[in-house]
């Protein structure tokens, strides 16, 4: 076959290749750096550019050296580009789409004239530890340094106008998950499926096949058979362009499924938008790691020049994308892959000037450069200089052992093979096969994979499969000159040797000091070279030097994919449609969306104080308690006593945790002999339920109590104000609401607005005569609307949380977790009267007994002397210049009193009524405030409430 240029779609495009992935019937145009080019469907960004003679794709991170193709794969460090608004796209992996706008990143002002490449001239200042040494002192220049360092920052641009992408998430439960869709992975998947397993087969590239895809005819024949068998096998789900990014406890495996441009408009996501990325969270019975091997670069002077590439890159370009990688080539070969690359190049008409055989001592000393930095020739070990525009190296492999490391294995270095191998410390549900596990012919490797796949399917011992052999391979890491080790971080072997000389002579220290392996390629290409160079510098073996630890994620993963579907539950009351229709300002309270107010909270207060208002308090926690031992439970949970509560009565109670800190408060009522309902704060509902269950299940499993949460089984409405009795009476005919028959702190059951099974409590947080009614939730909206309709002549209005908070502050009621915090014990909150220390036991009892003798701040009512000043909540109360002696926990302007009112904590010696304390405002003003006799600022005797 001869190399011919295909007109119209690039100057370096070869004629059709037997294994190519191009659709020659589908030419497409795209732009690079503002210029338009033609390529085919199936091209990657980089293959499409190379076919057009473009060979420089980026500037290196520190020195801004021109960079071209190295591996022609996802890992390729020099091929990171910007696509439209998406930065950091792996250009050697991402397929071109029609009209794609691709641009280089990390270049200024342009790829060809890069101002920062002057850094090359001052390279000695940018050596190992450069940042640490240069930008530390003096500290006052740090802002200036930041401006300098920003210029070095790699990465692309993201527009603030970027629309939300559609990211997805799903769970999977394969019996066997195979990481790697090469011949071993496919063989393992087939064997596992034959054994009856559900298999998830994950391949990072767009197609299954691994190295067979760019192999010879015989290899492609095997590939075709395998692909057909996988497609026909029931029970194998294949994810291509997907990557296993992490393995966690119990084979919890993260798979990132990348965008499928082929499916644009194909029905994924809203309005046919493509799924950008999908995170598959798989719980796998067994994990088979068949990750293959990554070809390792060779370290020598000029090894990062465009034109120097790995043998696998040359073969992929020729065979997958029909791109001629150069005109005149030198091949440094230490293995069959190098020889095959040379043969491929000759076949397509590249002049192979020399195959330098490393197995017989041949070496490359340096790559020579043209003025533009690209390759112009090569100097060999024997001093020969050859002109060439392509230098291919094949010096060995790196085992991508990330998943093994994550599973707890410590891979070991095998000097004979010059690579790391599995260390044999894998858990029983993780298996390894293919090139990462050992060597052999294709048949031998696939036989091993089949045995492993079958074993994994039945959960057998990995050792039951015969081990693969280990072939010798020359150990070639660094040649006679210094060169680039970490292409993405611009770290050279010279830097590593210098760092070792400075004392950073352990691999973990060296990594952090030089940033080697810390760039986007994350060590997949360069780790072993770094280790080898360090071991040479320190005189230790590679095994002694060890490697850095590989942690998840294996591949970059976007925050969008991690976020996935947004699953944030929200909760609504049955009256939500009314609130929405009547302009309620939503208040987000945990998961609940509640009406904060309907426009004018002060007016809502006036309605309640003068007429009657209704508020939706559905989120109030409600627990249905049944059984003969309920009083025992109440006595244990609350600090006060519960044994003698009569049927039809309710009582206020406070709960403390075992450390004596106030946990929750509320009223509990006895509806019948063996039926009680406990109410909790809205935010404490789940906590109190769990708290009760924990006592019942762990300490008192013998007690007969059933707790059923009924918070949302009832719509809860508080009817408050002087006209509340009148209003409720119009809708409730079967309960005598008179003060004598239904007194304060009583509970009754009855029918409201035609709805049976309601109960009503005569309690109140606002300080007015009020009834808290609980109606079967499906009828909540009906009762709410009926109340408003029936009470129109009474001036009834809805009020929101803000009005309620104002009124409860006027009444001095504290709110748990607003006025109390994680340190507030019951006595500090002024609950001395409630705590019954003569009870045998209750949660937190010992701490409360001891608290009496301790020094603690007291909750008090406070009023600034200047009633127009409302100190913000959390303002400190101070003595002298800086001593903090208290804080404001709640503050509002009281529309009823026409002045500011507060609750707050003060030191015990400041708690006496009439004491004047100093409140420090955020604007540094200090204002005097008076400690009040009561917590309540309004109707402290509760005359209105009991009316």
């Amino acid at each position: 076959m001869t190399a011919t240029v295909h007109p119209g779609v690039g100057t370096r495009r070869l004629s059709e290749q037997p294994g190519e992935v191009l659709d020659r019937r589908a030419p497409l145009s795209f732009s690079w750096d503002g210029r338009s080019y033609q390529a085919y469907r199936g091209d990657t960004i980089v293959s499409g550019l190379l076919a057009n003679g473009v060979s420089v794709f980026s500037r290196s991170f520190k020195y801004h050296r021109p960079r071209g193709v190295l591996s022609a794969s996802f890992l390729d460090p020099g091929c990171t580009v910007q696509v439209g608004d998406e930065p950091n796209v792996r250009g050697a992996h991402r397929r071109l789409e029609p009209g794609m706008a691709v641009a280089p990143q990390n270049v200024w002002p342009s790829l060809r004239y890069d101002a920062k490449s002057a850094n090359q001239l001052v390279g000695r200042f940018l050596g190992a530890g450069f940042y640490y040494k240069t930008f530390m002192k003096p500290e006052r220049l740090w802002p200036a340094y930041e401006q300098v360092l920003k210029r070095f920052a790699t990465g692309g641009r993201v527009s603030p106008e970027t629309p939300h992408g559609f990211y997805d998430k799903r769970y999977a439960h394969p019996d066997v998950l195979v990481a790697g869709g090469g011949p071993a992975g496919m063989a393992a998947a087939l064997a596992a499926a034959e054994a009856g397993a559900e298999v998830l087969l994950v391949e990072e590239e767009y197609d299954l096949g691994g190295h067979l895809r760019w192999g010879d005819g015989a290899e492609r024949a095997v590939l075709a058979e395998l692909v057909a068998a996988v497609a026909a096998a029931p029970g194998i789900e294949v994810l291509t362009n997907s990557v296993v990014t992490g393995r966690y406890d119990d084979n919890w495996i993260a798979v990132l499924q990348r965008r499928h441009p082929d499916r644009v408009g194909g029905g994924f996501g809203p309005a046919g938008s493509p799924v950008i990325e999908r995170l598959v969270k798989a719980r796998a019975g067994a994990l088979v790691v068949a990750a293959g091997l990554v070809e390792r670069p060779y370290v020598f002077e000029g090894n990062d020049r465009p034109g120097v590439m790995l043998s696998s890159a040359a073969r992929r370009l020729v065979n997958l994308w029909a791109v001629k990688p150069g005109e005149r080539a030198v091949v440094l070969s230490a293995n069959a892959a190098g020889d095959a690359a040379a043969a491929d190049l000759e076949r397509v008409g590249v002049e192979v000037a020399r195959v330098v055989d490393a197995r017989s001592g041949g070496d490359v000393v340096r790559a020579l450069g043209a003025r533009n930095g690209t390759l112009s020739g090569v100097e060999l070990g024997d001093g020969t200089k050859l002109d060439c525009d392509l230098l291919v190296t094949a010096v060995g492999w790196t085992a991508p052992t990330s998943l093994l490391n994550m599973a707890g294995d410590k891979p070991v270095y095998e000097p004979r093979a010059a690579r790391f191998l599995p260390g044999g410390r894998l858990p029983g549900n993780v298996y390894v096969t293919g090139g990462i596990a050992g060597d052999g012919t294709l048949e031998e490797l696939m036989a091993h994979a089949r045995a492993i796949g079958e074993t994994a399917a039945r959960g057998g011992e990995a050792g039951s499969a015969p081990a693969l052999r280990i072939d010798p391979h020359p150990a070639l890491f660094k040649g006679a000159t210094h060169g680039m080790v970490d292409y993405s971080e611009d770290v050279s072997s010279k830097d590593l040797v210098a760092a070792a000389a400075e004392g950073y002579d352990s691999i973990e220290l060296m990594k952090r000091y030089t940033t080697v392996t810390m760039g986007p390629s994350q060590g997949k290409l360069e780790t072993v070279n770094a280790v080898a160079i360090l071991s040479e510098a320190t005189g230790r073996s590679i095994a002694e030097t060890g490697t850095t630890v590989w942690r998840p994620p294996y591949a970059p993963i976007s925050l969008g994919a991690l976020g996935g579907r947004i699953l944030e539950p929200v909760r609504h009351s049955p009256m939500q449609p009314w609130h929405e229709a009547h302009g309620a300002r939503p208040l987000v309270a945990g998961q609940w969306i509640r009406p904060d107010h309907y426009g004018d909270p002060d007016a809502e207060v006036a309605t309640v104080r003068n007429k009657v208002g209704i508020i939706d308090v559905t989120p109030l926690g409600k627990l249905d308690l049944r059984g003969p031992d309920v009083p025992k439970l109440l006595n244990l949970l609350y600090v006060n006593k519960w044994s003698k509560l009569a049927v039809g009565s309710v009582r206020y109670g406070v709960m403390c945790a075992e450390d004596g800190v106030v946990l929750d408060d509320g009223v509990t009522g006895r509806l019948a002999e063996d039926r009680w309902v406990m109410s909790t704060t809205s935010s404490g509902a789940a906590t109190v339920w769990e708290w009760a269950e924990s006592w019942l299940q762990t300490e008192h499993p013998d007690w007969q109590v059933h707790v059923t949460p009924v918070t949302t089984a009832y719509a809860s409405i508080n009817i408050a104000g002087p006209a509340s009795r009148e209003l409720l009476g119009r809708l409730c005919g079967d309960v005598d609401l008179s003060g004598e028959a239904f007194g304060y702190m009583q509970v009754r059951a009855g029918t409201i607005a035609g709805v049976p099974g309601c109960w009503m409590w005569r309690i109140g947080f606002t300080g007015e005569l009020s009834y808290e009614i609980h109606v079967p939730a499906s009828y909540g909206l009906h009762v709410w609307e009926t109340l408003l309709d029936s009470g129109a002549d009474l001036g009834v209005g809805a009020f929101g949380i803000e009005a309620q908070r104002i009124m409860r502050l006027e009444k001095g009621h504290f709110i748990v977790a607003q006025d109390t915090d994680g340190l507030t014990k019951a006595l500090g909150a002024g609950l001395d009267w409630l705590v019954k220390a003569d009870k045998d036991d209750f949660a937190g009892k010992p701490e409360l007994a001891w608290q009496a003798g301790e020094h603690y701040q007291r909750l008090v009512g406070l009023q600034p002397l200047d009633g127009d000043i409302v100190p913000p909540e959390a303002s400190q109360i101070v003595a002298g210049e800086t001593r903090i002696v208290g804080r404001i926990t709640s503050s509002r302007r009281s529309p009823t009193l026409g002045r500011s009112i507060c609750l707050g904590f003060v030191e015990p010696d400041l708690a006496a009524a009439g004491t004047i304390v100093t409140v420090l405002l955020p604007d540094r003003r200090r204002i005097p405030a008076r400690v009040m006799e009561h917590h309540a600022h309004y109707d402290p005797e509760g005359v209105r409430l009991r009316g």
Binding site: H572, G627, T708, A777, S778, T786
Partner: protein
């Protein structure tokens, strides 16, 4: 404002499309074709929870063990073993008080400590049905293995669905794959919307329940 003379019960899930009041409950009345992926609100069904010893006479009377759902009363009721010593019983709309009384009568003679609580108004209930894709939709929101092997027809389990604690019952109808999802009432609209969103790829359709759905 609606006519307030007669109480109307409403689901926590607002009807999509046309709606009508049927026997005191507001219902969506839209239709969806069998075979497609679809979702309907069943919150109007009567619901009663029972707590009793896990292995006593009450348990024997209720038949369903934890993790299983069993049809009862000529298939008019579904008894769900929703937890250890905990059952959820579903019955047609309006039968809550009768169901409560019936179960109370059944357990009265056991001498066991039993609680029977009606939760018709306290929970949301929906049915997700359709092709095999229905499992894929649920698998976007639920981490439990839903394969036929692990979760066959008649399985009941409680887990997190879209971050809401949910009773999931595999309850196939006329050999069509179907799931009942039961959660605390105030999260019902959220869960319904989350399922519609997850099923968007597959063209999920909301519709009003017919007698077939119960």
């Amino acid at each position: 404002m609606a006519d307030l003379a007669v109480p109307v019960a409403r689901s926590p899930i607002r009807p999509v499309g046309p709606a009508a009041v049927i026997d005191g409950w507001e219902h969506a009345t839209g239709a969806a074709a069998r075979g497609g992926l679809r979702l309907c609100d069943l919150s109007h069904l009567a619901k009663v929870t029972v707590r009793a010893p896990a292995d006593g006479a009450t348990a024997a009377a209720l038949v369903a063990t934890h993790g299983k759902a069993v049809r009862d009363a000529g298939a008019r009721r579904l008894v769900i073993g929703s937890g250890p010593g905990e059952w959820l019983v579903l019955a047609p709309q309006g039968e809550g008080p009768a169901l409560l009384a019936d179960i109370e009568a059944r357990v009265a003679g056991t001498g066991e400590f039993v609680s029977v609580v009606e939760l018709t108004h306290g929970r949301a209930l929906m049915r997700l049905s359709g092709t095999d894709a229905v499992t894929g939709v649920l698998a976007k929101l639920c981490a439990v293995n839903l394969s036929d092997k692990a979760t066959p027809d008649g399985t009941a389990l409680r887990t997190s669905v879209a971050a809401v604690v949910t009773d999931v019952v595999r309850d196939d109808v006329d050999s069509e794959r179907s799931y009942l999802l039961h959660c605390e009432r105030s999260s019902g609209q959220y869960l319904f919307d989350a399922l519609l969103d997850a099923g968007g790829d597959h063209g999920i359709e909301p519709y009003g329940a017919s007698h077939k759905d119960w």
